[in-house]
């Protein structure tokens, strides 16, 4: 039973990690129907920014809590300026182009950003500082769940709730939903569609940056390439949950994380990906739009 609980929390942590990145994919897809392949790189840039800021602040002797908050803020602001810019230069000019064009443009941005960080920063692995210290009360259950795991789980839950509320009840959320349903009609009723799309990219990128900080501090290392595999897995999770749906992205991520964890625990980690992707195929056969996705006609 203990073993089951240990695997359960392993899976939940892994799922929450995917979810922090998957939320950005799903938001952008929900609004403009674009798979933003550069999103994994935004997450990587967030982690690098947090790394640089945290290192500098540590030298100045700031208290740990201040470092976490300031590094998080800096990462979110820096990464969202990247997200905003990418949308403006790589996607906006292609908004009325065939759907394949912005997709290729997104893959291009992804490769560009990877190589940009490789050249401007370093190709080596950097040790990411442990920004979340071990809390003492966690000690008795440390073999099941660590402090970082708890913080990641809590952040994902809070972020998902806030996002759902924002989209359901605020003016911005209403404008987003309107834009998602029909851009032309949204414009006719006075919504600044460009600004809404920019806002979506900014929110999605900030989330990825926060994710970058938390995940990097969980695994303790970063390099220019971390965004790629994490991005692929998060994208898979978003599709599994129903791309475009916020709770779907979280649910899909948790399902993926738990499947991988239990596959490793009870079968073999050699087959971790086999199980995860078999599940994806199965779910998509029976529910092509994902677990919580709405059936869509005509798109793609």
């Amino acid at each position: 039973m203990d073993y089951f609980i240990e695997l359960l929390f392993s899976g939940l942590t892994r799922g929450s990690i995917y979810a922090l990145i998957a939320l950005g994919y799903t938001m952008v897809y929900g609004i403009i129907g674009l798979i933003n392949f550069a999103h994994g790189e935004i997450y990587m840039i967030g982690a690098f920014t947090a790394f640089i800021v945290a290192t500098v602040l540590t030298i100045f002797g700031f208290p740990l809590l201040a470092i976490v908050i300031l590094a998080g803020l800096a990462a979110a602001i820096w990464a969202s300026s990247y997200g905003y810019t990418i949308e403006k230069i790589a996607y906006r000019p292609l908004r009325h182009a065939p759907r394949l064009s912005p997709l290729i443009s997104a893959i291009g941005m992804s490769i560009f950003l990877q190589n940009y960080v490789l050249l401007a920063q370093t190709s080596e692995f950097l040790p990411f500082p442990e920004l979340i210290p071990d809390w003492e009360f966690v000690e008795p259950i440390a073999h099941i769940i660590g402090t970082t795991d708890i913080v990641i789980l809590a952040t994902t839950t809070i972020v998902m709730i806030i996002l759902t509320l924002v989209i359901k009840y605020t003016r911005l959320g209403k404008a987003m939903r309107a834009t998602a349903q029909d851009k032309t009609m949204a414009m006719l009723v006075g919504i600044n569609v460009d600004r809404i799309i920019s806002a979506t990219f900014i929110i999605g990128s900030s989330l990825a940056a926060i994710g970058g900080l938390l995940i990097a501090s969980h695994i303790g290392q970063i390099n220019f390439y971390i965004g790629f595999l994490a991005g692929i897995k998060a994208f898979t999770a978003a599709v599994l949950g129903g791309i475009g749906s916020i709770p779907g992205a979280v649910l899909g991520s948790l399902v993926l994380g738990l499947t991988e964890s239990f596959a490793t625990g009870y079968v073999s980690s050699d087959y971790e990906d086999v199980f995860a992707f078999s599940l994806l195929v199965l779910i998509l056969i029976f529910k092509p739009s994902g677990i919580l996705g709405k059936a869509e006609t005509q798109k793609v």
Binding site: E6, Y18, F125, Q221, N223, S261, T264, S269
Partner: protein, 372 residues
């Protein structure tokens, strides 16, 4: 019309290639292939430095057979698909001998290209067994002992020195880590002194390894043998310490890299890793390190001694054979002992160096030291 222009351009391209390899006689073209960027660059760049040091010295002394040596450096990022491109580039640029590859997977991908071109390749680091044992690549040599020589000492060390009775063997499913793990497993089972309680491959680059850590814990292993590279090793060892798992962690020369200590930080303490045998009492090795310090103002990195040795024996073979013709060089390599930073070496008929082996190291106070 457009198509014809393209064809013309391709034709011209071939024309240039032919002329460039026809001019190769003026200098000896010494190719270097390995990861010079990407996350494994720290394995490849020291070899470039080693070759530069040896070649500069040779050129200053008048070159080999009266010819100057020219370095051709190609980056393969340790990725097999990039290695084939890099190898083709070297061959078409006229490389006559090659130092590299560095990673086993990339080397296996590049070797057929070197073989077809009749180019000798010597690796300071690729330890995959089949490179020599398969007999597929008569043009391949290496100055590092192969996996089949690395796995038994790792396993023996874990069983005899650490006294482990239950051992979990983990690998990264790669060309380098998996055969090594299999070798260690076979050796443990044959010796009968300990039991392999878990044998599994993990997915490289995953964001979290806590599930496999829990599985190691449940297996009751008192030591983990890991076959793979340092990024995964540091994630797994940190995960083990986070989950309060105290089992010893024993790994290979892919982990015996200072980046591992830098990244894993305090979790690296007490980790054991096999590495090329300790050469610190070999004056040639200390001299080479001093040359490196003088030229590049830093300490040499992974596989530096091996690369220095490889460059030395290759140039010696060219000088003695009087050409870069493969069979003539092979004969020299297999018969003549050469003093190098990794010891006095020559090669057996399969291409493995006679006179090199592995030592076990342990991380103590942020540095690798000899474990016994």
């Amino acid at each position: 019309m457009k198509l014809r222009k393209k064809l013309l351009a391709v034709g011209l391209g071939f024309g240039f290639m032919v002329t460039s390899s026809a001019m190769a006689a003026d200098t000896i073209k010494f190719g270097i292939i390995g990861p010079h960027s990407g996350n494994l660059a720290s394995y490849g760049l020291p070899s470039v430095n080693a070759a530069k040091l040896v070649v500069d010295k040779m050129n200053a002394a008048g070159g080999v057979n009266g010819m100057q040596i020219e370095l051709l450096i190609e980056d393969d990022e340790c990725a097999p698909e990039k290695a084939t491109n890099a190898a083709s580039k070297l061959v078409s640029d006229g490389a006559q001998v090659v130092l590299g590859g560095i990673c086993s997977g990339a080397t296996i991908a590049a070797m057929p290209i070197f073989k077809d071109a009749g180019v000798l390749a010597m690796s300071p680091s690729a330890t995959n067994d089949s490179l020599t044992t398969s007999g597929d690549y008569p043009n391949f040599f290496r100055t590092i002992a192969p996996n089949f020589a690395q796995a038994p000492p790792m396993a023996d060390f874990t069983m005899d020195k650490l006294g482990a009775k239950k051992i979990a063997v983990i690998h990264d499913k790669g060309d380098y880590g998996k055969p090594l793990a299999e070798g260690a497993k076979a050796h443990i089972e044959k010796s009968g002194k300990a039991e392999v309680v878990l044998f599994e491959g993990v997915t490289p680059e995953a964001v979290d390894y806590s599930a496999i850590v829990q599985k190691i814990k449940r297996s009751g292993a008192d030591a983990v043998i890991f076959g793979g590279y340092h990024p995964e090793a540091s994630k797994i060892v940190s995960g083990m310490r986070k989950k309060r798992l105290k089992a010893a962690f024993v790994s290979d020369d892919g982990v015996k890299d200072n980046t591992f200590i830098k990244v894993a930080g305090k979790d690296a303490e007490g980790v054991y890793a096999a590495g090329p045998q300790d050469n610190s009492d070999n004056p040639l090795s200390t001299n080479a390190a001093a040359e490196h310090k003088k030229a590049f103002n830093s300490d040499p990195g992974a596989f530096f001694d091996g690369a220095y040795a490889a460059t030395t024996v290759i140039l010696n073979a060219i000088a003695k054979a009087g050409s870069t013709e493969l069979d003539a060089m092979k004969k020299v390599l297999q018969t003549e002992m050469v003093d190098t930073p990794v010891g006095k070496i020559k090669f057996d008929e399969k291409g493995d160096a006679i006179g090199v082996g592995f030592s076990m190291y342990v991380v103590k106070d942020g540095a690798f030291i000899l474990a016994d």
